[in-house]
Subunit: 458 residues, 2 copies
């Protein structure tokens, strides 16, 4: 087991960009832009024998020529050149991120190059992330090696979730979507073919990272199963750890193999490993995003018992169905509580689970119904379907619900499917830390994630 | 079986609004606004003994005072007044939509009122939609009895899908979402407690309706099972018929009952009825919306065999997983086709299923890969995951893909998860009739709907 700390990767004092350029469209140009524009505070050293300066910074012919030591070098040069350059830089360098493709994922020659990289690490060379990866986006240290223009792929704000992924496209897509949705991340690591640093190394680092409250993994395959279980268990003892395993079906496994050259193994083995390590398994991209949204604004729930409150009966029933499909409990209120609520609210409210307040509801009654029905210990969380059609609901509703949610002390999720007017109101809820889901199913997925996916199997 | 035609409900020459008003916020005011502002071409008769005019139209004290006959009257008066008013109008009226609540869904007295309404129909009175419903939104005749302001709930443009639903909140939410997504509908009927007109009557009407190409039902419960199977079968012989059954689980069934007062029955019975009638069963709200989107822009597929093409490997694998979760087939290319494609495309493309064109792809190669890999009869449809991160993709891509899709003659779905830049590009695809899905799972749901949900059970 490799116990060396990875601080120099996430909090480097200096970064060299090997193959640096300012020719528009080149990978290394985008990386230079990202580092300079994102506000990275350490030293940036462009390295390229063809240039004197890059983006007004002195450009070095090689890493060896840089006077000071370098914490991290990003290699954006053709695959065949990489091992040689890395060897020559040995001693100067603590860590390397190799973003280039053309390695093990492509052909026999590429697998040979990966062998050379592994040798370098084994002989005391720098730790390596990649090759065939996006590297690191760190919202705290501002390290950003994602070679995707910020016009096309936005970076999320600072948050408490860290994401580990083998796939660069998954990483960048999720990053862009989270940014658009206003969901923050702490650190995002795309490690690609992982000749060295893998999910377990990152889990070890994140277990001790104060900026990270939850870790989400996108896994195609794991090399060292035992070590993963150890690292994941240690991390899960301190933080919430969730994972999506792709290539679950035989055909998907084949595709995952050709993609990063790793063998995915049988899905059942992963399932067992997640369970053993206390990792919450997410079922795909949607659950990944829904989970991030829920987790960013709410705490984990104590159990799977959901109360549904709605101003539209049909949507309430659809949420109940979706919750039960996700193995959550949607049980009725106690007879005692029913009677108590019937005494307070109008006779045409349906007092049950779902609670249907009908289209005549107003802001105050909605908030009061939430508080009163969540009193006691019957339910672990609430899904509030506040459809905006009913004419008496105003912009005061989100604030009133948020006050009650705070008093209740249990997760409250908002489910508001609909069109333009409804979508505009989303921000009012999210400002008050109430996460908004735009379909019955996505609210149920989020609730199920907050319950640790520990529902009742039907 | 009731063979009387329902044309007067969907294409009325005249509409009376009973309880008409122009006091802001009242249901009947919103209905008057909708009818006047939506461009309904027939006569509109406000009816209310308290007013002389409503929205500058002559207001009648009662339906009986209207000189001409009335095709359709909308009743927006308190439940207890409704049967009496309806009885008095008998002979003057072909159809009635009762939007008011306070009937069978509330209490014993309400059930009594419903009995009176049934008597009126039985004795040759007008056909009734409702009570406790939204009524009709018809994009062709411009009948719109949905008492929800157009500011909050937008109406969809004209399209070829008709929607039948027991739940008003489901109807209005879906309507608003479809409008925001630019998906059109033909006719939308919310029939609520259905003392008379039910899903089978509507299916009979829609079977012969030239404006309707597909029918989607949202079902809480069905009263007359045998008749439903007959009507649905007849309709499904001519058009695509799809249905969501909610209240599938025991608890959800209870909620559905209290909502419209109907008994939902056992889910397995519905499943068998759908199968017998040739109705495609949808699994919830998301599949309902995804199905509408896919069906509006593409034809049904001949089978469940999907080819996935992507410029990001990880998202490709996630789509493959989602497809297989939805029982679709994701099988590899024949060895022969693989060799042929390998000869054309760069060596770092993964030729398989998914096809991974990597981040270096450009517009032309993307389109060519779609065409070449869909040649022959191996696949029934394609999912194209065009992630916008790769720098060489331009706004020309959607047009090029659309041209190839037309030549291929099989459904092509676009899957582009992501943030702002990606979401802006959605319109470029949809202008060219390529439906866009924003997650691997939603693309898979849509593909599964286009395959008639006839996948391979795993």
């Amino acid at each position: 087991m490799n116990e060396r700390k990875l601080d120099f990767l996430f909090k480097p004092r200096s970064i060299a960009v090997v193959g640096a350029s300012d020719v528009p469209g080149k990978l290394s140009t985008i990386i230079m832009d990202s580092l300079v524009d994102s506000g990275f505070k350490g030293s940036i050293y462009p390295v390229n024998p063809k240039h004197q300066t890059v983006r007004s910074l002195k450009c070095y012919p090689s890493i060896e020529e840089i006077e000071d030591g370098v914490d991290l070098a990003v290699f954006a040069v053709p695959a065949p050149l990489t091992p040689g350059l890395l060897k020559r830089a040995n001693g100067k360098l603590k860590g390397a991120i190799i973003v280039s493709g053309g390695f093990g994922e492509m052909d026999e020659a590429g697998r040979g190059l990966e062998g050379e990289l592994k040798e370098i690490v084994k002989n005391g060379g720098p730790r390596i992330i990649g090759p065939n990866c996006m590297g690191i986006y760190d919202s705290i240290s501002k390290v950003d090696t994602f070679f995707l223009s910020r016009e096309r792929i936005k970076r999320p704000k600072r948050g408490s979730i860290s994401i580990l992924t083998q796939s660069g496209s998954f990483a960048s897509t999720a990053m862009d979507e989270l940014a658009a949705e206003g969901i923050g991340v702490a650190r995002l690591i795309s490690y690609g073919n992982r000749v060295d640093v893998n999910e377990s190394d990152c889990l070890d680092f994140l277990a001790g990272d104060r900026a990270t409250k939850a870790v989400l993994l996108y896994i195609e395959a794991i090399d060292e199963g035992r070590r993963f279980i150890e690292s994941a268990s240690r991390c899960a003892a301190k933080k919430t750890v969730m994972a999506v395993k792709v290539g679950r079906h035989a055909e998907g496994a084949l595709a995952a193999m050709s993609h990063t050259g790793a063998i995915s193994g049988r899905y059942e083995i992963y399932k067992a490993a997640f369970k053993k390590a206390g990792v919450i398994e997410l079922e795909g991209y949607e659950e990944f995003i829904d989970g991030c949204r829920a987790f960013t604004m709410q705490e984990m729930a104590k159990g799977p018992r959901v109360l549904i409150i709605t101003d539209g009966g049909g949507i309430g029933v659809a949420i109940a169905d979706a919750c039960m499909d996700s193995d959550l409990c949607v049980e009725s209120l106690t007879e005692e509580k029913k009677q108590a609520l019937k005494a307070i609210f109008p006779p045409y409210y349906t007092i049950g689970n779902p609670m249907d307040l009908t289209g005549s509801v107003n802001d105050e009654l909605f908030a009061e119904a939430l508080e009163k029905s969540m009193e006691g210990s019957e339910f672990d969380m609430a899904i509030v379907a506040a459809l905006w059609g009913p004419p008496n609901l105003t912009d005061r509703l989100p604030g009133l619900l948020a006050e009650k949610a705070e008093r209740i002390g249990k997760p409250v999720l908002i489910c508001t499917p609909g069109g333009k007017y409804t979508r505009r109101k989303k921000k009012l809820f999210e400002k008050r830390k109430l996460p908004v889901f735009s379909s019955p199913e996505s609210a149920a997925r989020a609730a199920s994630v907050l319950a640790g996916k520990k529902g009742v199997k039907r």
